[in-house]
């Protein structure tokens, strides 16, 4: 169980920020209208992401998946910031 608790503590928030960040940046229309509503979903999404981790049956697979997802989501965020938002 400790492995799951630590996974939730360490990966929960970074994954939430990346997910909400990507949605807020990609959402069409004026940023001033859409950003705050997305940000307000941070807390429920954070809780949901952490709770999903407890569905996993293998801790090793869980940590591997979370590492891959984190690297992938932050790479995607970087790409969106560099090419979509700036360009």
């Amino acid at each position: 169980m400790a492995a799951k608790h630590w996974a939730a503590v360490l990966f929960g928030l970074p994954l939430t920020i990346a997910l909400i960040g990507i949605l807020a940046l990609l959402f069409p229309g004026e940023a001033q209208r859409s950003v705050l509503p997305w940000l307000l979903f941070t807390f429920p999404v954070w809780v949901l992401i952490m709770a999903l981790m407890y569905l996993s049956r293998s801790n090793k697979k869980l940590w591997l998946l979370l590492t891959v997802l984190t690297v992938f989501s932050y790479s995607l965020l970087w790409l969106i910031k560099t090419y979509v938002v700036a360009g």
């Binding site: 909400i20 950003v35 705050l36 807390f43 952490m50 709770a51 407890y54 049956r57």
Partner: protein
């Protein structure tokens, strides 16, 4: 669902519950009472013999006096109008240097003597709701984390309970032992008030650590531009730097008259002055605006020297994010539908407190049966549960007594003395005995609330009923009902203690 998954969620529910249960108990009990914060401020005025109510004409001299003594206060201070926020006309100023908030009330003699703000029993209970008595910032952030764990506890609770949901919801098996009874109670309260708990966890997190949570987005996602995007959601008018040229501010009577011209339906409650002695100074007049939406607040911003309109904000002009944010906040406060929503929130708040108390009781009852090992750990948890929960209940009742009989300076001392005395008692006595004893203390102190108010005001609480006034009968009548409830709970735990089995809630000979 796999048995192992059920086990994971059960473990998660237990840990999040144990870590947050005590904090959330205080938050719910103090929160249930704070729903009526404005009514209680009027009640406090009614049970104290007061001098004549302050008039608005005293406001400008008070402001001048405060600014003379503390010129740095001109950067930002509030003028609190008598009414919804209690009978005082007062200047509130947060001194950034000392980190303290001061209050200068108009009827103080000698005039404009600063006293620490938020030291009266009503504000102490209000602050307990989100600090649990800890230093303000620490308490606030701790509650932010507690809200997240509370969200996890709710979600895991649903997962555990879902498979038996329809079969068991209204089952109340009082014949199958105490554990079963507590569990059924825990489940029915938890499931029926679930939507409200989701709202409390979500809006609670937004209110406590919402602003802090902007930081990672600011740096990781928006590269420092987030606050620019959000500024119109938080400020009625864009911030203007002071010009450096001094200007005399208009008196509050005139500013309120101007605001009434711009927004006639708003009932002003508070004025916020920013750089008020400057030509670019502003006064924001906040007030209540009846509206069909969740948010019933509005604001008018005027130039403090010329009275010129700088901006207005009412719920119908909100942008989507503002509507969402204010909506969440007002769902937390529960004052969107008058007394109907307030009483609902009061009952839900008390039920929530009972949910957390029963959660802890249940865990202890189950644990003792399963293993005889580590009784010290259970003993500490049992004492903590009784001491913290019942200590805060007793402390809050003592605060109401202090409100009728003692000056503000005594209020926090009274609360903490009662709270820590209860905590110590819970640790030195056997849990099974301490539970009933502390509940009797709670009942006694709560019963003394109307007695103290009688002594303080010279009138019995049902007397105003003859003139059709409902405030005192409602407040003190509720205290009597709660006292009866605590008495019943005390008798129940006494009976439980007399049934000798292997539980921590049974007396040992």
């Amino acid at each position: 669902m796999k048995v192992s998954t059920q086990k994971s969620f059960r473990n998660l529910h237990t840990w999040t519950g144990l870590l947050t249960g005590l904090l959330l108990f205080i938050a719910f009990y103090a929160g249930a009472i704070s729903v009526f914060v404005h009514e209680l401020q009027q009640w406090h005025g009614a049970v104290q013999q007061r001098s004549a109510p302050p008039s608005l004409a005293q406001a400008q001299p008070l402001i001048d006096q405060v600014l003379q003594q503390h010129p740095q206060a001109a950067h930002g201070f509030n003028l609190l109008l008598p009414g919804a926020h209690g009978p005082d006309l007062a200047v509130l100023w947060y001194d950034a240097e000392s980190g303290k908030q001061y209050k200068f009330a108009a009827d103080e003699k000698p005039a404009a003597t600063p006293q620490l703000a938020r030291q009266d029993f009503i504000n102490l209970i209000y602050d307990l709701h989100f600090t649990a008595g800890l230093p303000r910032q620490t308490g606030l952030y701790l509650f932010g984390i507690a809200c997240i764990l509370y969200g996890l506890a709710l979600l895991s609770g649903i997962v555990i309970y879902a498979p038996v949901f329809l079969k068991d919801l209204f089952a109340f098996r009082s014949d199958q032992g105490t554990k079963r009874k507590w569990l059924d109670m825990h489940n029915v309260v938890g499931v029926l008030s679930l939507p409200f708990h989701v709202i409390f966890a979500w809006s609670g997190a937004v209110l406590t650590i919402g602003f802090l949570m902007l930081a990672p987005f600011q740096f990781l996602v928006f590269d420092g531009k987030l606050l620019e995007i959000l500024e119109p959601d938080f400020d009625v008018v864009a911030h203007v730097e002071p010009s450096g040229v001094q200007a005399k501010m208009l008196p509050p009577e005139q500013l309120l008259a101007l605001a009434a011209e711009h927004m006639p339906a708003m009932q002003p409650e508070m004025l916020y002055y920013h750089d008020a002695d400057d030509t670019n100074g502003t006064v924001t007049i906040y007030g209540h605006l009846p509206s069909a939406t969740l948010t019933q607040n509005a604001a008018v911003v005027l130039n403090s020297a010329s009275g010129e309109l700088a901006g207005m904000l009412s719920p119908d002009q909100f942008r989507p994010g503002t509507t969402f944010l204010r909506g969440l906040q007002n769902l937390h406060y529960g004052d969107f539908a008058g007394y109907a929503s307030k009483w609902l929130y009061f009952v839900l708040g008390l039920a929530g407190a009972l949910l957390f108390y029963s959660g802890n009781l249940l865990w202890l009852e189950v644990r003792r049966r399963n293993s005889s090992a580590q009784p010290a750990k259970l003993r500490v948890m049992a004492s903590l549960t009784l001491g913290v929960c019942l200590g805060s209940v007793a402390g809050v009742s003592a605060l109401f007594i202090a409100g009728s009989l003692l000056t503000e300076a005594w209020h926090s001392t009274v609360y903490f003395s009662v709270f820590f005395a209860a905590l110590v008692w819970a640790f030195i006595r056997q849990p099974a005995k301490a539970g009933a004893e502390l509940l009797y203390i709670c009942a006694l102190l709560t019963m003394l609330v109307p007695v103290a108010a009688w002594y303080g005001s010279g009138a019995f609480f049902l007397t105003p009923l003859l003139q059709g006034a409902l405030l005192r009968p409602a407040v003190e009548g509720t205290a009597v009902l709660l006292a009866v409830l605590f008495c019943l709970l005390a008798r129940a735990s006494q009976r439980r203690a007399n049934r000798l089995d292997n539980s921590i809630w049974a007396k040992t000979a």
